[in-house]
Amino acid sequence: MTNFVDVCALNDINKDTGVCALVNGKQVAIFRPAATDELFAVGNFDPIGKANVLSRGLISDIKGQLTVASPLYKQHYVLADGSCLEEDVSIPTYSVKIENDRVLVAA
């Protein structure tokens, strides 16, 4: 079922920033936090701002949880599970992995 798609080279994502990839018609925001070697993939759509912008948000450590702060209105979405810390909304999460310095996403 899990179908990983190669989206870019690891070095195409600046450390501590995100990019957006188009995977099976879905907009996926992929983050590369400086805090860890892991990557995170979540939906790119901001359900509060209603725009495809989350990949452009700041990676933010809130009480030990890695989140992305929406670039529009600054709500925090937890990268690991897609929950929102301020409002009763959530965003989808996707599997992502690094193989041979390539970034693979399943969506």
């Binding site: 701002g49 933010s60 809130i62």
Partner: protein, 848 residues
């Protein structure tokens, strides 16, 4: 209910007006018919700041009358209308306009008039006095074509007047009958130092001079002949030799006066006729005339309560302590400064090197402070005044109160806990310690909040350090820990981090976090660190080690709009643009279908650009000679200007030229928040410079520099920092001012709020920027120079690097566009489609 009472007020000066305000505030004025007779052609204005009329303030600026005050409160104000006589048996007042007005209660607020010594020749032309706006006009007129000016009188007002003459460009002299300046408030040693300092500023002081005759001069218009045989030639003689109560109308109607004039009043401010009150400088209470505004305001409140029957406050005299800056010199005087109390002892400290003199007078048992004098440094005024007014027991070594702090010797601080709640902390606005504590209890936890809630410290600002002490003590009492940490990752303020980054030479967020922080950083500390790193080292903000720190707008060097598109703003220094440039911007906007609008900062904003279009758009703009406008940055935005003397019939100097020079100098400088400038070519102020962080206005004598204004949510007018500057000095001061703000401002704190929270306020800022009190000036200038030297157009750097451009694409792995961006047409241009329009899917414009 009985018929409405007729209240007649004679005089609409500061105190007369305060009475009106107090009366209508207490009670519904509609039960009174209030008539005000005002001899002057204009209603109440601020006489305390009269000299600012010479530095650009207008009569409107000085007005104390809030809009619609008289109309809304049913007050009949008669301007140019003098009260001629009072008929106390008929209870009427006859006016110069031949009206007869009857009263139930009459309030005399006639004020005082300047005393002109009856020297032969005192009534010659060019002998003005200094009290009203008309007097200032006369002084200005006399100064035209004059070279030399003399002020007769070396008291507080005389020195104010001397400053006015000096500002008008006259060679200025002060002639004083007494052997020293400010003989009432200052002792001999203090007077000597004050004289030295004032003479250093270019004003010649002549004490012990008894003017006997004024006659025609040889080189100048007048010659003053003194009793000692000497003489002095001058073109203007300004009399400021004290005031006399304006009591003639009371004398004529046989109301009781004091032996040397002044209308005698009781504790309710009633005269010998209980239906007639007298307040302010015309009134004599306890054998004394109170020539300050605060006691007058107190009398006004007492009378308002007495007439309305709503209170029992009485006037019980007033403290005449003063602190002021005379021609830039700090002067303060408290209580019995001449040690006239029996058994009084005094301590004094005289530093001729730094020109500071301080004296305290204590009781025979050394337990109470009776008085003090300070010249050259009046920072201790607030503490000493509280000790004196509240009878607080002095420390064992009272001399330490005025000695400079030495190593190992702590200056005894006044514990504000020792003050009673009734202690008056702000004397201008009569705010007690209790009121300040109350505001703190109600949630005001910064000095800016306390000022806003109580008005304490908002008039002269002299009490601001004390207000801060009271606030901090109350916060401690409440157990409120004021957490100034910027976020969970750094237990520091912005100012701390700025200093750490600068002093330790830290060049990346990673290094900062490892050394001084915890965790991984957030959307508070990352952009903050990014901003400070840019302020200090000025590296390319999209460099690998800084890119993760940039907020929404900075990270793509554009302003993100609600739909995820960006707006593009090319820099247009001073708002000047060539037709070719404008055409090129128009072509770009047309080719990319961008919504086009002019900004408030005199440039063009292009909306609706998608991420992948940004580099193409910028390449074209840069090729056409434009640079980034930093509309996305917490940095200098624009320097707005009027067209100035090059075209304008009224322009005094080239405002556009200066605006362009300033914008090019400070472009790209990042700070705690955005920074806006404006330059006006004359005092008509078409560029609205007095609402900007930095405003510059041309005058006949050079540039005036205004700072810390703001439009926006909480408008604030600027404060005048310095005047009549040449361009070089102007730029030097702006360099220092901006870097000092960058160094000490809080995160996202505009200069207006920064100023409101600056302990010591405008005076302190002047000391730092103009007088270099902190010894920082050359460092601040050098830092600014380094920022100017390392400026780069970030968009130029970006489009020249293929590596950097990879990020400017909606998808890292596809050329498709974001299909969520939808526009519709409105007034011939695009705008983002509403949710409803998206659902209905009608009239959507194809996005290229």
């Amino acid at each position: 209910m009985s018929a409405a009472q007729n209240i007649v007020v004679i005089g609409n000066g500061m105190v007369g007006h305060k009475f009106l305000e107090s009366l209508v505030a207490i009670d519904d004025s509609k039960q009174y018919n209030i008539t005000v007779l005002c001899e002057e052609p204009r209603a109440a204005y601020d006489r305390v700041y009269l000299s600012s009329y010479f530095t650009g303030k207008t009569a409107e600026d000085l007005s104390l009358v809030s809009e619609g005050f008289f109309e809304n409160n049913n007050i009949d104000i008669k301007l140019n209308c003098k009260a001629e006589s009072i008929d106390r048996s008929a209870k009427t007042v006859a006016t110069s306009t031949n009206e007869t007005i009857s009263y139930d209660k009459l309030v005399l607020a006639t004020g005082s008039y300047p005393f002109v010594p009856p020297v032969p020749g005192h009534d010659r032309d060019n002998c003005p006095v200094y009290r009203t706006i008309e007097d200032l006009e006369a002084i200005k007129e006399s100064a035209k074509g004059s070279k030399v000016g003399v002020v007769v009188g070396g008291g507080l007002l005389g020195l104010e007047a001397a400053k006015a003459l000096h500002d008008l460009g006259l060679e200025t002299h002060v002639v004083e009958f007494a052997p020293r300046l400010m003989a009432v408030q200052v002792d001999e040693a203090g007077g000597t130092l004050l004289r030295t300092k004032i003479e250093e500023l270019g004003v010649k002081v002549h004490t012990g001079k008894n003017t006997q005759n004024i006659t025609d001069g040889d080189q100048c218009f007048h010659k003053m002949e003194f009793a000692d045989g000497e003489s002095l030639e001058t073109d203007v003689i300004l009399f400021s030799a004290g005031i006399r109560p304006q009591d003639a109308i009371a004398r004529e109607s046989e109301i009781e006066l004091g032996p040397r004039g002044g209308i005698s009043i009781n504790d309710h401010c009633q005269t010998s006729d209980p239906d007639v009150y007298a307040i302010g400088e015309c009134a004599l209470w306890g054998g004394m005339i109170y020539g300050l505004v605060a006691p007058g305001y107190n009398m006004a409140k007492v009378v308002a309560q007495h007439i309305s029957g709503t209170g029992t406050d009485t006037f019980e005299g007033a403290d005449m302590s003063t602190k002021l800056k005379l021609m830039g010199v700090d002067v303060a005087s408290i209580g019995d400064c001449h040690a006239r109390t029996e058994g009084a002892l005094s301590y004094s400290y005289n530093d001729e090197v730094n020109q500071v003199y301080k004296k305290i007078v204590v009781s025979a048992d050394k337990k109470l402070l009776l008085g003090a004098v300070m010249i050259g440094d009046a920072d201790d005024y607030g503490n000493l005044l509280q000790l004196a007014l509240n009878g607080i027991e002095l420390p064992a070594n009272p001399e330490a109160l005025i000695l400079p702090a030495m190593d190992g010797m702590e200056k005894p601080a006044l514990g504000t806990d020792a003050l009673p709640d009734t202690a008056q902390i702000c004397s201008c606005n009569d705010i007690s310690k209790g009121a300040i504590c109350c505001s703190v209890q109600e949630g005001a936890h910064t000095i800016g909040d306390v000022k806003a809630a109580t008005t304490a410290g908002t008039a002269c600002g002299g009490c601001a350090p004390l207000v801060t002490q009271v606030m901090n003590a109350e916060l401690a009492n409440l157990g409120v820990e004021v957490n100034t940490d910027i976020c969970e990752h750094f237990a520091y303020t912005r100012q701390d981090l700025y200093n750490i980054i600068k002093i330790e030479g830290i060049k990346s967020f990673k290094a900062l976090l490892e050394k001084h922080g915890t965790g991984h950083g957030c959307e508070i500390c990352k952009p903050l660190a990014g901003s400070i790193l840019a302020s200090v080292w000025n590296e390319y903000v999209l460099d690998d080690k800084h890119i993760g720190l940039q907020d929404t707008n900075d990270i793509y060097l554009g302003n993100m709009q609600k739909d995820g598109t960006y707006s593009v703003v090319p820099r247009m220094p001073g708002g000047e643009v060539t037709p070719e440039g404008l055409i090129e911007i128009g072509k770009v906007a047309k080719d990319y279908g961008l919504y086009t609008k002019l900004t408030g900062g005199q440039r063009v904003d292009l909306f609706g650009a998608q991420l992948h279009q940004l580099p193409e758009i910028w390449k074209r703009l840069i090729d056409a000679g434009f640079e980034t406008g930093h509309a996305y940055g917490k940095s200098l935005r624009t320097v707005k200007s009027c067209v100035g003397s090059t075209w304008c019939r009224f322009g005094v100097d080239d405002s556009v030229g200066l605006a362009i020079e300033l914008e090019n100098r400070y472009k790209g400088v990042r700070g705690p928040h955005k920074i806006k400038f404006a330059v006006s070519g004359c005092t008509r102020e078409c560029a609205e410079a007095q609402s900007k962080d930095v405003g510059v206005i041309a005058t006949e004598k050079g540039w005036n520099l205004y700072v810390c204004g703001n439009g926006g949510m909480k408008p604030r007018h600027t404060d005048l920092l310095a005047q009549d500057l040449d361009k070089e000095t102007l730029i030097k001061y702006i360099d220092r001012f901006l870097m000092f703000y960058v160094k000490t401002g809080d995160r996202l704190q505009r200069t207006s709020v920064w100023m409101d929270n600056l302990e010591g306020g405008l005076d302190y800022l002047k000391e730092v920027v103009l007088e270099d009190k902190l010894g920082l000036a050359s460092e601040l200038e050098a830092q600014m120079e380094a920022l100017v030297d390392t400026y780069q157009c970030e968009w130029k750097t970006t489009i020249e690097s293929p590596e950097r451009l990879k990020r400017f694409s909606h998808f890292i792995n596809a050329d498709e566009k974001d299909d969520n961006i939808k526009f519709v047409e409105e007034r011939g241009q695009i705008r983002p489609a509403s949710e409803d329009e998206r659902l209905k899917n009608v009239d959507l414009i194809a996005v290229s």
